[in-house]
């Protein structure tokens, strides 16, 4: 039932991309997304797509898992395309009864669709190849400079990794409690909104209780092992840049330079 919702959907397999330092992947994804907003012509997008395809090939994650993330934003994508297509003023291209498709509209729509797709797939690559824990580790280390401004980087990272760790557990718990109540004749699926909201009480109360119990247990277990926050804390697997990480940074840099240089060229108008 609820298992179908995948958040932090890590795909377990062996690949270079999986082994990369999470900081590289974070920075790479961020730069990749930013680069998408610099392009002015289709060559830029082409380069971005090729770059992304290469990374996907290297990651050994089947392509269908990449596009799975697209499903979530499909509606948004369609909406963007439709609005841009019909509502952008400019030189009319097609006139159907009352709606007009302009040349500018067509251009913007395609532009947006491509950009959004690349953006979603690009970030999927990161979440599919990095465990949530690894990701927060990378964030913690990458954001360490912010400590100067008194941002509690360690605490935030710890909270995030705990939260991420608990999502599947709570999901499983929800599934179990839901089943147990269905076995007692509960009905979560029929009736109007008020009835449905009421039907959630037998699910939510045990769920909250169990979440609090788990939180309490975890806090106790952490204190029993002398957890006192980030001060002086060392890591079992400290993040250290390897050769492959440097190579990856280089690749990203090359992509950025080439992509933005070619992507911003003023091309002769097509058609």
């Amino acid at each position: 039932m609820l298992r179908d919702i995948t958040l932090g959907q890590y795909y377990q397999t062996e690949s270079v991309i999986h082994r990369l330092d999470p900081r590289v992947k974070l920075a790479g994804t961020l730069l990749f997304i930013i680069s998408l907003f610099f392009f002015k012509n289709f060559i830029g997008y082409l380069i971005a797509a090729v770059f992304l395809m290469l990374v996907i090939r290297l990651s050994h994650v089947p392509f269908r898992f990449m596009v799975r993330g697209m499903r979530a934003v499909l509606f948004l994508l369609l909406l963007t395309v439709v609005f841009n297509l019909f509502l952008t003023p400019g030189e009319p291209l097609v006139i159907l009864w009352k709606v007009t498709i302009t040349k500018e509209g067509l251009k913007t729509a395609i532009n947006m669709a491509v950009r959004l797709s690349l953006l979603v797939v690009g970030s999927s690559v990161m979440t599919l190849t990095t465990t949530p824990n690894n990701l927060t580790d990378g964030m913690e280390k990458g954001l360490r400079p912010l400590k100067v401004f008194r941002v509690p980087v360690h605490e935030v990272a710890m909270m995030m990794s705990i939260a991420l760790r608990f999502i599947p557990i709570l999901m499983e718990e929800t599934d179990k409690i839901m089943k147990a109540q269905i076995a007692r004749g509960a009905d979560f699926e029929s009736g109007n909104i008020i009835r449905r909201a009421k039907a959630l009480v037998p699910l939510l109360v045990p769920l909250f209780i169990s979440a609090f119990r788990r939180a309490n247990d975890l806090a106790m277990a952490m204190e029993a092992r002398c957890y006192r926050g980030g001060e002086g804390r060392t890591k079992m697997k400290p993040l250290i840049y390897q050769k492959r990480d440097r190579i990856a940074y280089l690749c990203i840099l090359i992509y950025l330079t080439v992509g933005i240089w070619l992507g911003r060229l003023q091309l002769p108008a097509i058609g």
Binding site: T13, K176, K179, A180, I182, A183, G185, D187, P206, I209
Partner: protein
């Protein structure tokens, strides 16, 4: 009148790389009024199997018949099935949610659409049957002890008056005394009402003493399905899949190996004592 499972398969996480085959070609027939124990090592598919019996999980392939009707038929009333096959989950105390025990037990029968009087009557009856003392009826369920919570939760299912009662590890996490008491009560209930009871457990001792029939699960398959005596004959194979016959079986087998003519079929301590006494009289 019975439950029939016909080549039932179940796979968790169908199209992901993490697909797990939890049930593998299960064929079973469960007649009315039997007291059945399902045992198996952790992860052998016991919980998955029992969730099929009331239609909570839908088999990936195969069919299930309840009283001669296919429960996967499009117009089969699965909600009614759930009231006929009462399922008490592992750690059922986690499902308590009301402000007092009595109201919580009322939840099940109320969902059946019965009138208030009948609901309360059933709740009261169920609470008595599980042996929860009267003074606890109007306490918050969260203030009860582990064993009491467990009873309250079992009562919550009993109050629906199921024809088949399935209990998934009802004794997990209880002390020996609490365990004994709950099992005793379940047996009495079974005797008195004649309902079919299916008891899931991974402890042979729990099951051996009470049930008419044992189904041993291993890696999603039915390994043995027979009366306790016959199942415990396969001591070695059981050990290989992480289970152990009751301790008395070991003692009797060892006694026999050392030359005492005992009948090794005894499964409970009383039976064993009896057998040993007889054997000793025989040799002296």
């Amino acid at each position: 009148m019975s439950i029939i499972l016909d080549h039932v398969n179940y796979i968790y996480g169908g199209d992901t790389p993490l697909a797990v085959r939890a049930l593998d070609d299960i064929c079973l027939q469960i007649p009315d009024g039997q007291f059945i124990g399902i045992i198996g090592h952790t992860g052998s598919g016991k919980s998955t199997l029992v969730q099929h019996l009331n239609g909570l999980l839908k088999a990936s392939s195969g069919s299930i018949y309840f009283n001669g009707e296919d429960i996967y038929d499009r117009d089969y009333d699965r909600k009614k099935l759930r009231s006929k096959v009462g399922l008490v989950f592992q750690y059922p105390e986690h499902q308590l949610f009301e402000t007092d025990v009595f109201t919580d037990v009322c939840f099940g029968p109320k969902n059946l659409g019965l009138d208030k009087k009948e609901v309360e009557l059933r709740a009261y009856d169920a609470l008595r049957k599980v042996g929860l003392p009267d003074e606890l009826f109007y306490q918050s369920p969260f203030d009860l002890s582990g064993g009491q919570k467990r009873r309250a939760a079992i009562a919550g299912v009993l109050a629906m008056k199921p024809e088949v009662l399935v209990l998934d590890e009802p004794t997990a996490g209880l002390d020996p005394k609490g365990r004994e008491e709950i099992l005793q009560q379940i047996r009495e209930l079974q005797k008195k009402t004649g309902m079919t009871v299916i008891l899931v457990s991974h402890s042979m001792e729990d099951v051996a003493e009470y049930v008419d029939r044992i189904i041993v699960m291993n890696r999603g398959r039915v390994m043995y399905d027979d009366v306790p005596k016959e199942v415990f004959r396969h001591g070695k194979e059981l050990e290989e899949v992480g289970l152990a016959p009751p301790q008395v079986t070991y003692i009797l087998q060892e006694l026999r190996r050392r030359g005492l003519q005992v009948d090794t079929d005894a499964t409970t301590v009383e039976e064993a004592a009896d057998v040993v006494m007889r054997a000793l009289q025989y040799v002296t």
